[in-house]
């Protein structure tokens, strides 16, 4: 029987069936579940979490060079980190097939920008494949490996949130083993000296021409002729929306190989229909190239460059059909995500929220939520690793202007290993007046509990060397490293004061396990408000805990949510909160 699989589950299955031997990734929504599902096949496929996307790409590329069918995956901003190896891998080609997966996030459900990574295929001059449902997610993996090996190219496997996280029915197949040929050194091809790169570039240009020719008649691209009035060129999830929104007699050119575009096939299709639409999410990636080839079509002037599409939006924007809805008399207020009850980051951000001259440059992770009301304790978040370095730049300007600001550069443990360590070296080397802080919750939290080089385990659940953050800080020259439990507010403030007062370079490691960590100790009690003692001062509301609210002049703690972390209890001036056994 067919199985209901998410796109990411189906890609993992596709890797298994295609005989892949090597996979590496750094977790990032919406890509994470591919490796989480792939690890069930660890007897056949080596699976690992890499410290960052650049490393994941490099090790996977190395595995390809050694002859394996290899794979790396990341969210779209991770591709920026990995772009350096990708662009030169594009020049050198592959030995075993090499798939580079980018999971884009239109509408930014869990992302910091809305970049359209299809441009990477064009920029790096490599083939790009886009599946449009879970069955294709699985089937296209094997086809992409064949394409990669046939044309000696890395393949950009481009998916989006609604492909990754939507489930549809998939027919499974068996694994077909791939044979790793004996390794042969080929320095001419694989050493990127200018002289070799000079010789590789014409091969790359030739390859793109051959791929474009191949696309005109290949199993990735399909024409569905239903009528001659309207034709739609589309790919990925947009195909599903367009199938639903356009009339039944609409003809489709559904592309699975979306770079290079099969211009000859597109011209033939365009000639058969009266009116041509290009339906794609985000940038006019296909539309611009189709128009540049002299083919008239409609697209972004109707569909918009921003956010996700769906069938109803296409009906509205193309055919002017507004949805029939009813309005209710009440309006919902915001329900933004928040740090969980018992989150170890809360104590640190509460401490930061009290410092009038503190500037907090933070990073990507659960702890980004320290920016939310009522904590409101973050000045900036830019990118992975930027927590240390943006603060470094600011602190240099504050020094110059004499501004009375104390800068804290904040990253999480996984982010520290990802790209925080280079920033730490920058602060040490260039004598930054910024306190590096690592919020070490012992796991990669936001993406759903993935192991990292500090957690002591690998993706395949083997014990691993547990890299100690304090040792790295000390090796960089941070003489005073304050290790503190952020849930102990007094100790947290003392660590902050100690670091600020230090004559020598100082840093902070705020360490406590994530509440959701499977290995974490079970909560040993819950906090309760003695309403007779509560003076209604609302101090406990300032810690920003979802379990604490205010009803009829008194604070109330929701017993189903509270895990007894006591942060609210520590800030209560009336001694009205007590911890009790559960």
């Amino acid at each position: 029987m067919k199985q209901l699989l998410s796109g990411n589950e189906a890609i993992a299955r596709g890797l298994y069936e295609a005989g892949a031997e090597f996979a590496s990734a750094y977790p990032g929504t919406p890509s994470t579940e591919v490796l989480e599902n792939l690890v069930q096949y660890k007897d056949d496929i080596y699976c690992e979490w890499a410290p960052n996307e650049k490393v994941a790409t490099e090790v996977a590329y190395g595995a390809s060079m050694a002859g394996a069918r290899s794979f790396c995956t990341m969210k779209m901003v991770g591709a920026n980190v990995a772009a350096d190896p990708l662009f030169t891998a594009a020049y050198q080609g592959v030995t075993g097939g090499f798939i580079f997966m980018s999971a884009d996030d239109p509408s930014m459900h869990s992302s910091q920008n809305e970049q359209d990574n299809r441009h990477y295929a064009r920029h790096a001059k490599i083939a790009m494949v886009e599946p449009s449902d879970s069955q294709e997610c699985k089937d296209f993996v094997k086809m992409a490996y064949e394409l990669s090996e046939k044309f000696d190219t890395p393949v950009l496997y481009r998916v989006t949130t609604r492909i990754d996280h939507s489930k549809s029915l998939v027919e499974l197949g068996e694994r077909e083993e791939h044979t790793i040929e004996p390794y042969e050194k080929n320095a001419r091809k694989n050493v990127c000296t200018p002289a070799n790169a000079y010789m590789n570039h014409p091969i790359v240009e030739q390859r793109i021409k051959k791929l474009a020719e191949y696309g005109n008649d290949c199993p990735f691209n399909k024409v569905e002729m239903n009528g001659t009035k309207i034709g739609v060129i589309t790919a990925g999830i947009s195909y599903q929306y367009a199938k639903e929104a356009f009339p039944e007699d609409t003809s489709f050119l559904k592309l699975g190989l979306t770079y290079p575009l099969p211009i000859k096939l597109i011209k033939e299709f365009a000639d058969k229909v009266d009116e041509l639409y290009v339906i794609e999410e985000l940038d006019p990636f296909m539309e611009d190239q189709i128009k540049a080839a002299g083919i008239e079509c409609k697209g972004k002037e109707l569909t918009d460059e921003k956010y996700e599409l769906n069938a109803q939006l296409l009906e509205e924007r193309i055919f002017g059909k507004t949805p029939d809805t009813k309005e209710v008399a009440v309006k919902a207020v915001m329900r933004p995500p928040a740090l969980c009850p018992g989150c170890p980051h809360r104590g640190f951000f509460y401490t930061m929220s009290k410092g009038k001259n503190y500037v907090v440059t933070a990073d990507i992770g659960c702890y980004t939520l320290g920016c939310a009301q009522p904590l409101n304790a973050i000045d900036s978040v830019l990118c992975m690793g930027g927590g240390f370095t943006v603060g470094m730049g600011m602190s240099k300007v504050f020094e110059r202007t004499g501004a009375d600001k104390k800068v804290f550069g904040v990253v999480g443990d996984s982010t520290f290993f990802h790209s925080g360590m280079t920033g730490l070296a920058e602060i040490a080397y260039n004598k930054g007046n910024v306190i590096p802080v690592v919020l070490d919750n012992r796991i990669t939290g936001m993406t759903g509990q993935q192991e990292n080089p500090g957690s002591g385990y690998t993706l395949e659940e083997d014990a691993a060397s547990m890299i100690k953050i304090e040792d790295i800080m000390k090796a960089c020259g941070f003489v005073n490293v304050f290790t503190v439990d952020p849930q102990d507010l007094k100790a947290m403030q003392e660590a902050v004061d100690g670091a600020l007062a230090s004559e020598e370079p100082a840093a902070i490691v705020a360490r406590r396990e994530c509440r959701l960590l499977k290995r974490a100790e079970k909560p040993d009690g819950i906090c309760k408000v003695d309403s007779d003692k509560c003076i209604g001062c609302k101090m406990c509301l300032k810690v920003g805990c979802p379990a604490v609210s205010f009803k009829e002049g008194k604070s109330v703690i929701d017993t189903t949510q509270c895990v007894g972390c006591t942060v609210c209890m520590q800030v209560c001036p009336a001694d009205a909160i007590k911890k009790e056994a559960r």
Binding site: H109, K167, S168, A311, Q312, P323, D324, A372, F550
Partner: protein, 196 residues
């Protein structure tokens, strides 16, 4: 697309909407339908507003749909029902767990939790409201609220050929089977009473 049914399940991250959609999709696949389901992971899960969509029919294209397309809205919280009300067709059905949970902004007093969410829904839509939270607590485990709610909506799905009780039994973890079956039955009864 006349034959495609669309359901949206909304709530607060961590309330268990995924299990509700899993029971639903398991039953529908067994009954031979083409099924698609969509959810969002990552940052939005941390106590934020979450939604899951399920669609089924002879052939389903989009895994997600837009406003005015849902045959049924299943809300695990009153304000979330209001937030997603415009996804319902005008003649769609709302099944609501009559329960209010503060958001971070209402809990900390930055804004007020709106009054009369359930009433506003009842004024506009055919609404089945049940105290799934209360029933789950009576059963001794607040976490089975989601299965109580599933019981309350099962008959409104209009899939009379599916034995939902059997589907619940095989979908939930075996050690929690009896509790969840009881939760399902109590939810189903509550819906009958809510209609009367």
């Amino acid at each position: 697309m006349q034959d495609v049914k669309s359901v949206i399940i909304v709530g607060v991250g961590g309330q268990g909407a995924i299990l509700v959609s899993k029971i639903m999709t398991n039953g529908l696949i067994q009954a031979g339908y083409d099924v698609k389901q969509s959810e969002v992971h990552g940052m939005s899960q941390r106590g934020g507003s979450v939604s899951t969509q399920v669609r089924w029919g002879e052939k389903v294209y989009g895994p997600v749909f837009g406003k005015g397309c849902a045959d049924m809205l299943i809300a695990m919280e009153n304000m979330e029902a209001v937030r997603y009300a415009d996804f319902l067709k005008p003649d769609g059905v709302a099944v609501i767990n009559d329960y209010e949970r503060d958001s971070m902004t209402t809990a900390s007093g930055i804004e007020e939790y709106p009054e009369g969410c359930l009433k506003a829904m009842q004024e506009q839509f055919r609404t089945i409201a049940v105290d799934a939270e209360g029933i789950a607590e009576e059963l001794g485990n607040a976490k089975c609220m989601n299965v109580v709610l599933f019981g309350a909506l099962a008959d409104s799905l209009g899939m009379d050929d599916i034995d939902w009780e059997a589907v619940v039994a095989e979908t939930v973890p075996q050690k929690a089977r009896d509790l969840n079956l009881e939760a399902f039955r109590r939810g189903r009864e509550a819906a009958v009473n809510a209609k009367a």
